[in-house]
């Protein structure tokens, strides 16, 4: 199967500053891909190169085997650029319909695509509004709608849920999850729990270098459990260490414990034993996760 995206030896310099340093990766059709990294890591630069907004200093980037920003990517690669805004002089319907026509739809099809995508993001009633009449979050959802027009193969969303209220952020996550069987999403976000829920692959950038390229689906490490508690429990570490299979317990952050275990075929599964200890000691827990959280894996 040919890759949707193939990046080889990608470098990008802004003056003396190297924003991307010899980045290599491939993305195949499939579950959403997370692009993670601290501020200034090069995530937006990588997005911009993939969309064809900026030229790489060296290296090769292929989208569907073609150059970014070329004919072959139109209508197949869609994106929500982080800081792009719609033209304030035109209604939402007019602008999105124009984008639809650029994608090759006739007026009627463009109009129906605009209505469909605005409905997907819960903004059907803003068709004839101008962008300045909408809140920041609503404008963001409109720009997500433009990325979903037509039948794109790849949709890149840069900080899609940043600035959205929890309800609408959740709706966007549900939307991504529901469409991900047909569309390969590439999501950049600082919300690791969001990415963990949605993504199967993670690209971790730091200082322009691709530090890790992980596949989460095949990477559940059964030698770890992550336990989230209602409150910080003083005796919890010792209590858990009393379980024979538990090798180590680390208080990874407030009310969260990373438990290293040794699977040795005990009759009662280790996760049940952990929950039993919590129950016996009356330690209310919130969540028990198989393996490490994405945050614990990356940092």
């Amino acid at each position: 199967m040919s890759s949707l995206i193939q990046v080889t030896g990608l470098n990008k310099f802004f003056g003396d500053k190297q924003a991307l340093n010899n980045v290599d990766f491939k993305i195949e059709k499939g579950a959403p891909v997370a692009l993670v990294g601290p501020n200034g890591a090069g995530k937006t630069t990588l997005f911009s190169v993939l969309c064809g907004y900026i030229q790489p200093s060296s290296g090769s980037v292929e989208i569907f085997g073609a150059l970014p920003g070329s004919n072959a990517t139109f209508g197949r690669l869609a994106a929500l650029p982080q800081d792009a805004q719609l033209d304030p002089r035109f209604s939402i319907a007019h602008q999105l319909s124009f984008y639809g026509q650029l994608q090759g739809f006739n007026k009627k099809k463009s109009k129906s695509e605009v209505e469909r995508t605005l409905e997907l993001v819960g903004l059907s009633d803003t068709l004839n509004e101008k962008p300045y009449a909408l809140s920041h979050g609503m404008r963001k959802r409109v720009t997500i709608a433009q990325a979903l027009m037509g039948t794109p193969d790849i949709v890149m969303l840069d900080e899609a849920t940043a600035g959205l209220d929890p309800l609408h952020a959740r709706e966007i996550r549900q939307l991504v999850a529901s469409l991900s069987s047909d569309v390969t999403f590439i999501l950049s976000s600082h919300d690791l729990s969001e990415l963990e829920r949605l993504c199967q692959q993670v690209l971790y950038l730091d200082k322009g270098i691709l530090q890790r390229h992980k596949t989460l689906a095949n990477d559940i490490d059964y030698s770890y459990f992550t336990l989230r508690m209602e409150k910080q429990e003083s005796g919890l570490i010792d209590g858990l260490k009393s379980i024979k299979q538990v090798v180590d317990v680390v208080n990874s952050q407030d009310r969260e414990y990373l438990i290293s275990v040794q699977q040795n075929g005990e009759k009662t599964p280790i996760d049940i034993q952990i929950l039993q200890v919590c129950h016996q000691q009356k330690w209310p827990y919130r969540q028990l996760i198989n393996g490490k959280t994405l945050e614990n894996q990356l940092f």
Binding site: C51, N71, P81, F90
Partner: protein
């Protein structure tokens, strides 16, 4: 198929420019200013053209920009309204086009709107589409002023309509070709400038400083460098005086259009959005 898609996208982009000019509030204000200015030109100059062209004032003013041969040719036109129109339009439309076409891509670039468009059209298509849109806008405006002039002439003397119509078509073509290099120059400036206001300032600096710089270079080198042919409108006095019409009326402006669009396209392709 590839070319068809490309033409379709260029046409979509051009149509969007027409909507921007004629159906938005800001566009309507620009049109209102244009209509007001031309109302005064039509009312005070063109309506009085029959008397004006034979007046000493007109002959004196026109002589400042037109040679004796050109003047004789201009005064021989059967429709004096079109003579006055030509003298006014041949310089005012290029200046107006600089202002009207000052924001082809720069506002969209600084706002980030161009990023949505660049996912659906190549940079070259964006550049040519916006250029074509501005040419269409000027086409409509030139046509409207010419029709108004022709109607005024016909109202004075109905027998002038057909002869005026033929002359109008000729003037329409000449003025349209004359404004195209100015629009192309603005397309070129828009390929790297992020504000319409700055683009206008740079264009005025261009027309003010480049001729001085060229004169200085030619003085120092002691030879004709032909660099003046880079300046849009350099041929206008020849066009008015009906000299070297093939070279001045067509070749120079169309070569300038190609040159500016080509360089603008190269810069646009390499620039960051």
């Amino acid at each position: 198929m590839l070319e068809l898609h490309s033409f379709h996208r260029i046409w979509c982009l051009a149509k969007f420019e027409l909507v921007r000019m004629f159906l938005t509030k800001r566009g309507a204000i620009a049109i209102a200013a244009f209509v007001t200015a031309w109302f005064f030109i039509l009312y005070y100059l063109i309506s009085a053209a029959d008397d004006l062209v034979s007046s000493d004032i007109f002959v004196t003013i026109a002589h400042q920009i037109i040679s004796t041969t050109g003047m004789r040719e201009l005064l021989s036109w059967p429709v004096p309204e079109l003579s006055v129109f030509w003298v006014v339009a041949v310089y005012s439309f290029p200046i107006f086009s600089l202002v009207a076409a000052s924001d082809q891509t720069c506002a969209d670039r600084s706002r980030g709107t161009l990023k949505f468009i660049a996912l659906r059209a190549t940079r070259a298509e964006i550049l040519f589409g916006r250029f074509l849109g501005q040419v269409l806008i000027l086409t409509v405006l030139i046509a409207c002023t010419l029709i108004a002039t022709l109607l005024m002439a016909s109202y004075r003397d109905a027998s002038l309509f057909f002869v005026g119509l033929i002359k109008s078509l000729d003037l329409f073509k000449n003025i349209l070709i004359a404004v195209m290099p100015f629009i192309a120059l603005m397309a070129f400036f828009n390929s790297f400038i992020r504000s319409a206001r700055l683009a206008i300032i740079v264009s005025f600096l261009f027309f003010g400083l480049i001729p001085i710089a060229i004169a200085f270079i030619e003085y120092k080198l002691g030879l004709n460098t032909y660099l003046t042919y880079l300046i849009p409108g350099v041929q206008l006095s020849d066009v008015i005086n009906q000299k070297n019409l093939l070279f001045s009326g067509y070749f120079i402006p169309l070569a300038q259009v190609c040159g500016y669009l080509l360089v603008g396209n190269i810069i646009m392709k390499r620039s960051s959005l």
